[in-house]
Symmetry: C2
Subunit: 210 residues, 2 copies
DNA sequence: TAGATTGTTAATCGATTAACAATC
DNA sequence: TAGATTGTTAATCGATTAACAATC
């Protein structure tokens, strides 16, 4: 039982770097390694070693003073920090190209998400299974959320539909929305929205091209 | 003809916010509006007005002192800054779920990318067209890059294949890679890589959930 | 005019980076 | 032991925020 009372606030930048470390550490653990120094991770991620060290210290990763961080313990610390060590029931709305891609992404399970349902309005999609996940009609959204105990919504619908569905989700008690539609969602306080913007990444790429 | 000689460096954060402004301004222009103040954009994006103002000033958006930014001119300034006003020939490697989703994403054209080819190794994919984009065998990569004048590579392959293909791309003279595989690519200086990490967004979401 | 907004400079805040002691 | 690495504090840097003058 860990005590979270006085956990320091960890910057978003640090949080976004954690999955990189996690992937490498898991790979290395697979090779039988037990220790990894911040220098090792720095080489693999092309980040400054001091950044790695600070990041791992921020999530309370265990270490041996002269030898580096303990791989297994650090994996646990990161997973625990992110809550990826216990699966949360998630569902997806909008089984288009992107939605289908996300449902087929095995990695979600190792990231704490168990996709148990998908929703769509197209008659030819409703009633099918995509990558093993059953597709229901969006009209059943509210009742399914309650009966299945769904916690996290993944929104991959056209932007016109995003706010309306969000209102339904909020109304059904959903507390976390992972939004891939290029719209800023209005939600009441206490509801967490993570906005993914494909344009942002592309803008960054294009600006680097001068 | 603009003069780029003493353009101030613009922060990555600013660059990543630009597409949001662009989408809103384009929408508003469609309604016939001509001016938008930083307050207007702040309301719509939930960003502080001063952030919006600074961002637009950074890309040289034209304004009228008491009334706000000129919508058409600001759209042009952002598109020009990002290079989204002239299409660059791009191609995609790895026509899986995500690759297919990206090929079907109409938005790329308004983001300066013209997808003219896709590559894969699966025999049942090679020779087909996906969303109008022809799929070639990866063996043809190098010759096609030269003959078609391809500039930007979108990498949506399994992580095991990413570095090998990157080496081929670099060898063929590609200068920009948009990488969706969860691996840090090794590239020589002068080659630009934009790394997308689905785990990073999910980590951010999960950390907000405590 | 009055007031909303840009233009511009200064202040603040927090992430990154540096420095160095502790140590196995 | 020597040296690589963590642990910890301080310095730096740059993005954000504040403040206020200019103005239409």
């Amino acid at each position: 039982m860990r005590f979270f009372g006085h956990k320091k606030t960890v910057s978003v930048q640090t949080i976004r770097r954690l999955p990189q470390y996690l992937r490498l550490l898991q790979e290395w653990r697979g090779y039988g390694r037990e220790l990894a120094s911040s220098t090792d991770l720095a080489d693999a991620t092309h980040l400054p070693a001091i950044v790695v060290k600070k990041d791992l210290q921020a999530v309370g990763a265990p270490s041996k003073r002269r030898s580096g961080f303990k791989i297994t313990g650090t994996i646990e610390a990161i997973e625990n920090f992110l809550g990826w060590d216990n699966l949360k029931k998630a569902f997806l709305i909008g089984v288009g190209h992107l939605g289908g891609a996300l449902l087929g992404f095995e990695g979600l399970k190792t990231h704490g998400l168990e996709m148990v349902a998908a929703f769509d309005t197209h008659p030819e999609r409703v009633g099918t299974q995509i990558h093993g996940v059953p597709v229901y009609h969006t009209a059943q959204l509210k009742s399914m959320i309650e009966s299945k105990g769904l916690k996290i919504a993944v929104l991959t619908v056209p932007k016109e539909a995003a706010q309306g569905l969000t209102d339904t989700l909020v109304d059904s008690g959903i507390k976390a929305i992972w939004n891939f539609a290029p719209v800023k969602l209005r939600v009441p306080e206490g509801v967490v929205v993570q906005q993914e913007d494909i344009g942002a990444g592309l803008a960054e790429l294009c600006s680097k091209l001068h």
